[in-house]
Symmetry: C2
């Protein structure tokens, strides 16, 4: 499926897709840890751990596992939660809004702060899905782009849709 690339600012990355599943199911896939673990990470990588406390300042933590078995934890907190509509989180702040440090992010060369937004909007027969990520500067944004933001998030979204089609 094609992603339609969109850019709000030169420090941002985003894409939009028209999906034939409901906002409510996409929301569940993003906010229930047992569902998120199924699709969140492009295979053969796995999401082996997920913690979600769905309130502003609440934890959003995942641990990804490479095919070689290495673990990559990602921790941040939610900033805005509008059920079935908008989910915003960041890794600039840890749970309880405690400031984070780039040094804490691990994978030093690829480490950067971001704030991500998933926006869901009704459309005839489904949902318009917009994922966008804000960065601190152009260098972080380019790093994320080079890591394959659009492809990575796109494959994960394909896996999400596949999960929903199989029934949850």
């Amino acid at each position: 499926m094609m992603n339609h690339a969109m850019t709000e600012s030169s420090f941002d990355l985003s894409f939009r897709r028209h999906l034939d599943v409901s906002k409510e199911l996409i929301w569940r896939a993003w906010t229930e840890p047992e569902l998120l673990k199924i699709w969140f990470c492009p295979r053969p990588w796995k999401t082996v751990h997920c913690e979600i406390d769905l309130r502003a300042g609440g934890i959003f933590k995942t641990i990804m596992q490479s095919p070689q078995g290495d673990l990559f934890p990602n921790e941040g907190c939610f900033l805005e939660i509008e059920k079935n509509k908008q989910l915003v989180w960041t890794n600039s702040l840890l749970p309880g809004f405690r400031p984070n440090q780039v040094a804490n992010l691990g994978q030093e060369d690829n480490a950067f702060f971001f704030t991500a937004t998933i926006h869901l909007e009704d459309r005839v027969g489904g949902t318009t899905y917009t994922a966008s990520v804000k960065h601190a500067d152009e260098a972080s944004c380019n790093k994320h782009k080079a890591m394959g933001f659009e492809q990575g998030w796109g494959i994960a979204l394909d896996q999400l849709i596949e999960m929903l089609r199989q029934g949850i």
Copy 2:
């Protein structure tokens, strides 16, 4: 007036005071730019500019001026707003929740991320006022302590009370 020092974690600084003014007036002093400019900065420093957009992700920007005329901008955004009760903001995120960088903070040696909370609670004859600041690590916390967090915030609070007593 004495501040009662309190510590939630070794990365945090906070103090509590019992004040004989209402929550509603303290809230106005913290959230109306023209009022905040009067008391926010220990004199003879001045707050020469203040922008407040009182919603999660909204701007909280001040510019302080030293007695020598040097300008020190501080920009961040609000995280939680519970009118007359709790105000939370950070400089880890810029307006719109965009990640900030320590390099953007200026005054490099003294730069650090923080998340601050002002909590107001009714008590007989006034308000229990708690100011607390979370840091990313012990080093940032110690830096803030050495800069005179408690004295600085305490003097500013004295100026706030003085302003309220004179009538706003």
